[in-house]
């Protein structure tokens, strides 16, 4: 047991180290002079050199790398080239919006998808099953931003039910409840669209797993023992499914970050995803590096957590030598 955990943790740390190196190299190799983007090209060479010195860009690469690792591990990401404010401060103001957006929509789509997937598996060949199969295929082939743009066009431009852009009205309404209502009104369409895009895949996945499990011998045995249907489905089939579902849930967390970038761009939300896009296109090394590091940290810790949870819920995994195979 201890060996399994140590092995997984070690490999997570190794990957995190590699990510650090990659992260550093990636942004130092970007084209475009970062200093050029924040100062006037007519500045004297002395002024440019001075700015390079302030941002530490004149030091040799190994020194830059060492400084980078030290500051990254202490969550001090420096000052954004574009906004001139500490990156951490920028991220902190954006993080709640992104967490709300992704958390709510993922939870919604997972719950709805699981419920519909179970129903579809129990009623093979029904109309509901066909709908689920198609919605899965659609969610794999329709570009998310297209669906969101269409929703925006329909429910914000043509029928002005929801706001066209932003996280809050400008100026924001006074009073706690009014502010909350305004926030929810702005977040409704993004959250709903993400949930809509996500549930098809979930339903398809749960359905496929459930169909497989329902065909297993132990379900046949449970039926032969005359157990009630509800008991068989929830107590036996779903219980077997649960560890896998939990893992998938955790593993899908980093993947939906792409969803954040797209959604926040489409709906012009004040979030981390759009910050990342602006940082990448604006040669804002500290900001982009910080976003990347946090993303990688999120991914690696989710992977680790899912491995460990799987080890807890499924005893067969930790008995096996050599981890997953």
């Amino acid at each position: 047991m201890k060996g399994y955990w140590a092995r997984r943790t070690g490999s997570a740390l190794l990957i995190l180290g590699l990510v650090l190196v990659l992260n550093f190299m990636l942004f130092r190799m970007m084209p475009g002079d970062p200093v050029a983007s924040i100062i006037d090209p007519n500045f004297s060479p002395e002024a440019k050199a001075r700015l390079s010195q302030v941002y530490g860009l004149d030091k040799p690469l190994p020194v830059q790398f060492w400084r980078y690792v030290k500051s990254t591990l202490s969550f001090d990401f420096g000052i954004s080239f574009l906004t001139g404010r500490p990156v951490m401060e920028e991220l902190r103001s954006r993080l709640p919006n992104t967490v709300t957006l992704l958390g709510t929509s993922l939870l919604l789509s997972a719950l709805l998808g699981t419920w519909l997937g179970m129903k579809a598996a129990l009623r093979r060949g029904s109309f509901l099953e066909k709908c689920i199969l198609w919605s899965g295929a659609v969610s794999f082939s329709f570009p998310s931003f297209f669906v969101q743009l269409t929703l925006l066009m329909a429910f914000a431009a043509a029928l002005p039910v929801f706001p066209l852009r932003g996280t809050l009205s400008v100026p924001p309404p006074a009073g706690g409840m009014a502010l909350l209502a305004d926030y929810l009104w702005h977040m409704a369409l993004p959250v709903f669209s993400l949930a809509l895009l996500g549930f098809g895949g979930w339903a398809l996945y749960v359905r496929n797993l459930m169909v497989k499990i329902l065909g297993e011998d132990f379900i046949l045995l449970a039926r032969a023992r005359g157990l009630p249907q509800r008991n068989i489905v929830m107590g036996h089939a779903f219980r077997t499914l649960l560890p896998t579902l939990l893992t998938i849930f955790l593993l899908s967390l980093p993947g939906i970050v792409s969803g954040a970038v797209i959604t926040e761009t489409v709906f012009s939300l004040h979030g981390v995803g759009r910050f990342l896009l602006e940082a990448v296109t604006g040669h804002d090394y500290p900001a982009a590096g910080a976003s990347f590091f946090l993303l990688a940290l999120l991914t690696v810790s989710c992977n680790l957590l899912s491995d460990l949870l799987y080890g807890v819920t499924d005893p067969r995994v930790r008995m096996e030598r050599g981890g997953r195979r």
Partner: protein, 393 residues
Amino acid sequence: MKALLNRWSFWCLLAIILLALFGAGLFDGPPEREVASAFSKPLWLDRTLPPGMELRLGQSAPAAELDWNHGAPAGFSVKISGGESNPDRYVRWTTPDGKSFNLSPLRRGAEVDGRDISFKRSLGLPPFGDAAAALFPAKGAYRAEITGEGDWEGEVVIRMEGGRWGLLGTDQRGRDIAALFVAGIRVSLLVGIFATLIATFLGATLGLAAGYLGGWVDAVIMRGVDLLLSIPLLPILMALAALWGKGLWQLILILSVFSWMGSARTIRALTLSLRDAQYIEDLRGIGAPSGYILRRHLLPETLPVLLASMTLGVPGAILSEAWLSFLGLSDPRVISWGRMLHEAQSFGAFTAGAWWMLLPPGLGIALLCLVFLDLGKYLEERIDPRLRGGTAP
């Protein structure tokens, strides 16, 4: 083979490829050409809108009457060509309610547009909006004529932009969306097919090596797979697209470098199971070199699986290209479906209510992805007949 001919996706793909190859011939001029006013609706959408119209004035016909039965046109412009400049003569425009405007002196090569501020100031109109609204206040008979002193040889073209154009309307620059749509097929097909080809080649090579050779080769390759799988794909693609430049081939390379992991895993698993098969053992026993076994026996065994996983991988590449273009990280000179959606979002399709800019590229991407998903499913069923009979669409 006959089953393939019964698949809708096969015929659909064929039609799409034909359109990509020969579609440009359906339109006269390149797709970048501006054909009508911005945000023109599709022809079939709104029959009450005015059509595009031109009035030509010259020495032989110095005046023209126009019977106008619509609201104001979407655009209004005057173009003067030929002849010597004669500032004493000008184009006069008379509306049905008796007002008249001096549109422009006859200066050689002069061009005025209803949106020009100086033009609106010269007519005594406020500098906002389009002059067309003031020049077309009502339905009825309009008159355009050349007036003033002196001789003049040349031609004046007064152009009224209609609010509707073509099969699919126009975009924010007045380009034909149908032509852009057809031009965009090429990028999606190219990126989708080549990126997955390269990725599958990489994945097959590394997967075969990892599975057959085992040991440290296997360990290194599989750690690499783990690493690449643990980085969120879109952010890294964004960074690389900004880093390596925005060309189409760079994009294809970037996409393939980050999508070989799936096929590598599949092929490795398959190779692991084949490696210890009796006939491979026998081959090794009679002294066949590894390269020979890999090339002549293992690769052909894995080929059908590779083909299916490749076909199923194409939608991913198409979608990734669309993502990047949508985020504005593609070459702005290359027309692609993602780029069209990017422009729809950034250049005011929403305020103009121009949904016809949105649907064609979006549905195009979705259709192409569905086609490849269906073909991939067909191939999988051929390999493994147990999948037949409705497990997944």
